[in-house]
Amino acid sequence: MNLESFLSERAKAIPPSAIRRFFDMANELKGQVISLSIGEPDFVTPWGIREAGIFSLEQGNTHYSPNQGFIELREAITVYLKKRFKLSYQPKSEVIVTVGGSEAIDIAVRAVLNPGDEVIIPEPCFVAYKSCVLMSGGVPVTIATRAEDNFVLLPEQLKAAITPKTKLIMLGYPNNPTGAVMSREQLQAVVDVIKDLPILVMSDELYGELTYEPADHCSIAELDGMIDRTILIGGFSKAFAMTGWRIGYVCGPDTLLAAMNKIHQYIIMSSPTTAQEAAIEALRHSHDHVEPMRQEYNRRRRFVVHACNEMGLACFEPLGAFYAFPNISITGLSSNEFCERFLQEEKVAIVPGTAFGECGEGFVRISYASSMDNIREAMVRLKRFVERNRPK
């Protein structure tokens, strides 16, 4: 039986990863290489949060939760968003606790897209956006942000990409993979373009807690009129080092959230109970949990950016997330060649920029979510590799 013929057009529409071969190579060498290719914290979830999860299990809290999540957690999320960003959401109708930001992105897109609707996606960006749009029958319209613009979305780029079919813009700042942050003024310029158009914004703010002075995260939902048309995606994975717990959330206008909740209810039922109880503890002491990790990331960030620039890999200063995105074109190698050879010759894994969109060509993503010792050694090897491969 030819099972290929059973595959849905939608499943087939998802393109294979651009860095499949590199993926396989890295997997084969796992354990023998220094990995700066991982998009998750190297820290273990802070003990106080883990302990809350353990306590929840001890109490026998092993049942489903309400579809939208425990009301205590939804309240804690709204209190946090109010305090941190002056955003007001109703815990009862404007928050859904999801299985990671990942599920939130998916149900947001599913709730609003009809086949043929266009979705504007600035690249390089997190890999799920485009695939989620394709699975919903939408049409991704990508915009290539540029290193010389610090990888922010410019209003004129946006204007040029908008058509009457544009329904949604997917923004991911602080950005994975570039580390770019968009300031309030830069976001306002984007808002000015769409202010009179019927276009929604999905803002993926998973890295919102991880920005470095002088930057501070601004949510696009804070800007005038935007709370009514922004779908805000938040999470615990990055800020609280909780990737494996699989928990995140989505906030937005109740009409949109009600539709998302229908989808969520049938595909997921509810997010993990243990993780929700741990998340309540995370938000209860959010600053104390996040700050030591953020400070450590900041030191590593400066170290990596400095090292890259010193060895001739031009690297704009990333002020968010935990990635640096240096330009490797002085070596004359493609991103993929660079990463494959660096892995083979120096046993360090970093990710080709092309994994995050075609415009990532000429760049590599270095994750500094790794110990300082690993980073230091990896930079010594990177320098050696670059020197060897620099045209004379």
């Binding site: 590199f22 993926f23 890295a26 997997n27 060498l29 796992k30 990995s35 290719s37 991982i38 998009g39 998750e40 190297d42 997190f126 890999v127 994975n176 993979p177 030191r299 590593r300 400066r302 170290f303 400095h306 894994a349 990710v351 994994a355 995050f356 790794s370 300082m372 230091r376």
Partner: protein
């Protein structure tokens, strides 16, 4: 001031960091970092640079004891004089003045239980102002100066996460 505290805590965690590395990590000029460290050394705020050793994994394995000492403070000197007489012995690793049920906490490291016991009975207990001592031996060190001794350092994350 903030910089000074950050430099101290960085060095406390890893004394091998160079001034150049600290300068990059804290986004400060190298000359400033060098000066701060030199000043901290001159003021005896930084008293030395050591390694955190898990002796239990070596063949040397010395024993460590905590000794609670109750003393009569001396007029005009308080506890400082008697503390000094105790902490000047090279076996004494640390010595603290405490609030609560006893006065001095003396941490002793020596080659064997017997040596520690001898030291206490010969050098501390007979001192005139010492009222009593109580010796506790450390059986196992789990965590010291913020470092967990038993924790495994392996990275069990996936090879690549995008």
């Amino acid at each position: 001031m903030k910089n000074i505290e950050e430099i101290l805590s960085l060095l406390e965690k890893n004394a091998k960091l160079t001034a150049a590395e600290i300068a990059v990590m804290t986004d400060s000029p190298i000359a400033e970092v060098e000066k701060i460290i030199a000043d901290l050394e001159a003021q005896h705020i930084i008293l030395g640079y050591g390694a955190l050793v898990n002796w239990e994994k070596t063949t040397a394995s010395p024993v460590t004891a905590l000794i609670e000492v109750r003393v009569t403070p001396q007029r005009g000197q308080g506890f400082d004089n008697i503390a000094q007489r105790i902490y000047r012995h090279s076996q004494v690793q640390s010595c603290y003045l405490m609030s609560g049920g006893f006065d001095l906490m003396v941490i002793i490291e020596d080659k064997s239980l017997k040596e520690v016991a001898m030291f206490v009975s010969e050098k501390i207990a007979p001192l005139e102002s010492v009222i009593s001592t109580q010796t506790h031996f450390i059986l196992k060190k789990y965590k010291m100066n913020g470092t967990e001794f038993a924790s495994k350092d392996e990275d069990n994350r996936e090879a690549i996460v995008l």
